[in-house]
Symmetry: C2
Subunit: 420 residues, 2 copies
């Protein structure tokens, strides 16, 4: 009997609206390429270490299930934020992982994630080479933050940008309808700790039927409270409703986060990232006191990464494509690599997959270039908007049941039950 | 030459996703019934007092414009929060309004709004009767809060409920994907100062593919922090991810808002309503300290009332219908009345318009009945959900341009320019 050729796939890091479309792409291509089984790690590498995994054929029973999976936000398999130790620090953990992979006849290990997840792919592929093991390790890019190096953009970003663009239009209209004679300032707080891609995406709202945000502050450039106040006061003389988009991660020149000027407690995740909250609330209170007008804070918060009801068709399709491309690459013998998206042309937009050594990607952060902001860094340029626009095009209508979008959910009991 | 028969229409109070569908209904039915002109007050009665109005034919040029208007959130004409004085307090203001109405040959004055707006209809129709004037005054119900008396429900509520239900499903999935071994508590804060209809709508998320929120707290019942903590601690022993929905307006037994326990500044609007913010943030910080686990606050804030990209077809159609019905009622001689929606049957859902004396509606608040909450008032019942479900059915797809929903916007220059 020939040795089984199985695949195991996991999801890691923050959720996106299309992370499961990549999972669907992995599954579908693996089946088409004749792999025997496709296992899913539950909660990524952390769950795998507890031998928590499922056979995906117990979860996906039809083409309709594939379509539902593509439209289901957040990690279907569960995610984790788990940083592997350096190999020399703790070999036992690597031995345990490879013992499980060998037991399951794993040919390829595919990990859908962002920067930190690519660190996992790097370490596991390094370990396999160091110890002469043959499993392939492939990364599939995923992050709403769009901060991965070498890929033109990341799956998940386009849908978050589309949701943010649409919500910004709605918030601006909401504010316009409410302001008559009296000023009102709305501060929108957008995700993106260090990279301003999503905050810049609020500029998508600018169109024939909308002025877009009046000011946009990205985290790449130090935030100057005094200059900010001058700008806002200038605007207050010109128009009644002012809408300002700020990244959750804007910082003062001295390195303090603006949100630290407020009074919200802090929390540090397993990768040492500070959890941020309250930038918009702080600025809204600050402006209310300084300008004496009504202000309000709108935090898009978790909705911007899980709003599959407003996903971009381009994004869902590309997420599916990179999932499939990872299986293809593994099947052809690649390892220690991440699939990327190469932009072939802007208009008409065309893209293809490529592949890069994960050592060139892991732990790197792609920031918004300074030249894509205006002179005083209070807005983004046309080049920035032209870059994003193709990524938000088209829709996959949610599959509506009883008035709400239907999702595919993990059925663990079924897995552990009678199905073999 | 026969006297002109013109209509003037205004929008007032908080925006909704479908308030403009009612405006479209007024406009279309007025044209069909042969009224000469349809004027729009800019920023409601407050703008009218400044003689700010437009001829709607300068804004709506085609059937496509009507469709765009039906899908445009927030008050197209601009809204206001302006309370008319009692008639005996300030007759001059009434005289001024009627002078403008007479100058414009207004046959009927139609006001799209909530409780406070119906107060305006009541006072103006009373004044007309007192002074022997013949204009008709009709109210069109509008509020996401669903707190108007006598109507089965209010246009705007169904779309907000649909958006809240969909977002709750997405937030719950987001949290599920992130919790492994460690607990996480998500607090969702929903609009509705005194009425819990929207907060209860989070229960729509409960379906074959979602457990729904674990706890739901409406503002109708005093909130007990100690009992709340006991409930949460019980749940933490049973499941990793806990999602709790709270109204922005939940209050302690002593009458203090829960958000007042935090430290956010306050603001009182023209009707003396306290502006609330920070209930979820306060409770998230409180639970983080008490339970020692990760917590997060998600405020749906302004998005829930302006998310026309997730509007309910039933709601858009009914909003259009009540707008038309107000014109019909005026044309048939009614005045001092508000159009209502009567539910004819639940399943299949059927509804028709009715009409009530506005004196029976203005300044009344319809709250969630106690029997539609469970015994300890930590969730809503099946009857509650069955009541809402028909109102969130069906979609009007946004008209997408360049990846984002297109809206119809006011073109004031055109109005003041060459068109007559």
């Amino acid at each position: 009997m020939a040795k089984k050729r199985n695949i195991i796939v996991g999801q890691s890091g923050g959720p996106t609206a299309v992370i499961n479309s990549s999972l669907a792409g992995v599954y579908k291509n693996a089946i088409e390429r004749g792999f025997d089984k496709v296992y899913g790690m539950l909660h990524g590498i952390q769950g795998l270490l507890d031998e928590q995994y499922i056979d995906l054929s117990t979860q996906i029973h039809s083409e309709l299930d594939i379509e539902l999976l593509k439209r289901t936000p957040s990690a279907f398999l569960g995610s984790c934020r788990y940083k592997l130790p350096e190999i020399h620090e703790d070999k036992a953990i690597y031995e345990k992982i490879f013992e499980i992979l060998n037991k399951l006849d794993i040919y390829a290990f595919i990990y859908i994630g962002g920067n930190d997840s690519m660190d996992t792919i790097k370490k596991l592929s390094d370990y396999a080479i160091l110890t002469g093991q043959t499993q392939k390790f492939l990364g599939v890019p995923k992050t709403i933050d769009n901060d991965l190096a070498l890929t033109d953009h990341t799956p998940g970003f386009g849908s978050a940008a589309k949701y943010i663009g649409a919500s910004t239009k709605e918030v601006i209209r909401d504010a316009l309808g409410l302001t008559y004679k009296k000023n009102m300032i709305t501060i929108m707080e957008i995700m993106g700790r260090n990279a301003g891609w999503l905050t810049g995406a609020t500029a998508l709202a600018k169109s024939e039927d909308c002025d877009g945000p009046d000011l946009i502050y990205l985290p790449e450039v130090p935030f100057d409270v005094d200059k900010f106040l001058v700008k806002v006061k200038e605007l207050l003389n010109k128009k009644a409703s002012i809408v300002i988009a700020v990244s959750e991660g804007i910082k003062l020149a001295d390195g303090r986060y603006v949100c630290e000027l407020g009074s919200v407690g802090d929390y540090v995740d397993a990768f040492g990232h500070k959890q941020l909250q309250g930038t918009a609330t702080y600025l809204a209170n600050f402006l209310a006191a300084e300008c004496g007008c009504k202000t309000r804070a709108v935090e898009l918060s978790t909705l911007q990464r899980s709003a599959s009801h407003m996903a971009s068709r381009v994004d869902i399709d590309e997420a599916f494509m990179v999932g499939g491309a990872a299986v293809k690459a593994a099947d052809e013998g690649d390892t220690g690599k991440m699939v990327v998206i190469d932009r072939v042309s802007d208009d008409p937009y065309m893209a293809a997959t490529g592949i890069y050594d994960v050592h060139r990607i892991a732990n790197e952060e792609k920031l918004v270039p300074r030249e894509w902001m205006n002179k005083d860094a209070t807005n983004v340029t046309k080049d920035f908007v032209d870059y994003i626009k193709p990524l938000i095009q088209g829709d996959y209508q949610p599959i509506m049941v009883n008035g709400l979008p239907r999702h595919l959910v993990l059925n663990i009991k079924k897995t552990r039950g009678s199905r073999k």
